[in-house]
């Protein structure tokens, strides 16, 4: 074993001293573990190449890459659309309402995208107002009827002459008046 290492170091010295001799070429050296330092490809030439030991940046970089991708996936089309709308269509101008003209509910807004949203998705505020008034009216009628019912119950219970608060009594044809039918019984 010691003889092998001696042989190896002798072959390395021979290779280093005369690299161009055919017996000393890298392929037919005794072992392949001898570093041929003068034959290493040095790319930039200056500065010692360091292997910096640091924790893996793979997961962080992957997260940021994916975040950027998914944000820009819808972000860029939205930005292009908004830019085109602002450049080609532009905001509205304030004018006096012409006589006898009732503007639609979206014609009270300035920006074209707001106008489109209120036109396509939202109900007009007049409709919402009327819906709320209708709901209030129905609740008011229900409340009034409930109060009236309480009043009616009170009266019928007190006076007893209405259709409510009847108590079942015995049929008067079943009463036997025979023991009281004449004054001398």
């Amino acid at each position: 074993m010691v003889g092998m290492s001696l042989l190896r170091s002798a072959a390395a010295i021979a290779a280093r001293l005369s690299p161009l001799k055919s017996g000393n070429a890298a392929t037919n050296l005794l072992t392949r573990t001898i570093p041929q330092t003068e034959k290493v490809a040095v790319r930039w030439g200056h500065g010692k190449k360091m292997f910096v030991v640091k924790p893996s940046e793979f997961y962080d970089k992957r997260f940021l890459r994916l975040l950027q991708f998914y944000v820009l996936l819808t972000g860029i089309p939205v930005a292009i659309i908004v830019t085109c709308v602002n450049v080609f269509i532009g905001e509205a101008e304030l004018v006096e309402t012409p006589e006898g003209y009732e503007p639609e509910h979206w014609e009270y807004y300035k920006h074209p995208i707001t106008r489109w949203i209120t036109r396509s998705f939202y109900d007009s505020p007049v409709k919402d107002y009327e819906k709320m008034m209708a709901a209030i009216h129905m609740e008011k009628e229900k409340a009034d009827l409930r109060l009236a019912e309480l009043q009616v119950r009170r009266h019928m219970r007190q006076r007893g002459d209405g259709p409510w608060y009847h108590r079942e009594t015995l049929d008067k044809d079943l009463i036997d008046h025979s023991h009281k039918s004449s004054p001398d019984n």
């Binding site: 532009g90 905001e91 509205a92 304030l94 309402t97 074209p112 209030i136």
Partner: protein, 171 residues
């Protein structure tokens, strides 16, 4: 600023261009710099703006100012007439918003005045200051501590308290 602002409320400051009294034959660096600024910044920006306006002129949109009809107030409603209550409440809310905007406009006028006059604003824009104080005092007394759940009823009750306090003070 939009082009339809009130010219009296925001007066232009007097121009301070000095009389040209050139005593040297050297070129004026201020003139050179202003020309440079004009050709490098002002002219491209103006041409860009005109180009965009030219494109926009084809699809011109207009918008209108919504005017609401006046409806009976909370004090003119019968008791139990919830529809009347609702309309009065909506009207009160619109008026509250309008009053907030009025206060903002007065505030902006005061700020513009201060900016215009510089260090001597306290004596030069006394009118704006007095107007601002009056408007904010009135706003505070009417809508002051009503809070986030303010309503027409609460404002009316606050007005009643104010009238009662005034009566006890007078009597």
């Amino acid at each position: 600023m939009p082009s339809d602002f009130e010219k009296d409320a925001y007066p232009e400051p007097p121009r301070q261009t000095p009389v040209v009294d050139k005593q040297t034959s050297l070129p004026n660096p201020a003139l050179i710099l202003s020309k440079l600024f004009y050709y490098s910044v002002d002219l491209p920006v103006t041409t860009f703006r005109d180009a965009i306006d030219g494109v926009r002129a084809k699809n011109k949109l207009v918008y209108y100012h919504q005017k609401f009809r006046r409806v009976p107030d909370l004090t003119d409603c019968q008791e139990g007439d919830y529809l009347c209550y609702y309309e009065a409440e909506m009207q009160w809310r619109r008026d509250y918003k309008v009053d907030q905007e009025i206060v903002k406009v007065i505030q902006e006028r005061l700020g513009a005045c201060q900016q215009r006059e510089g260090p001597s604003y306290q004596q030069n824009c006394s009118k704006e200051i007095q107007q601002f104080n009056e408007v904010t005092k009135n706003f505070q007394s009417r809508y002051g501590d009503l809070g986030a759940y303010a309503s027409g009823r609460k404002c009316l009750m606050k007005q009643k308290e104010r009238m009662m306090a005034a009566q006890t003070q007078n009597a």
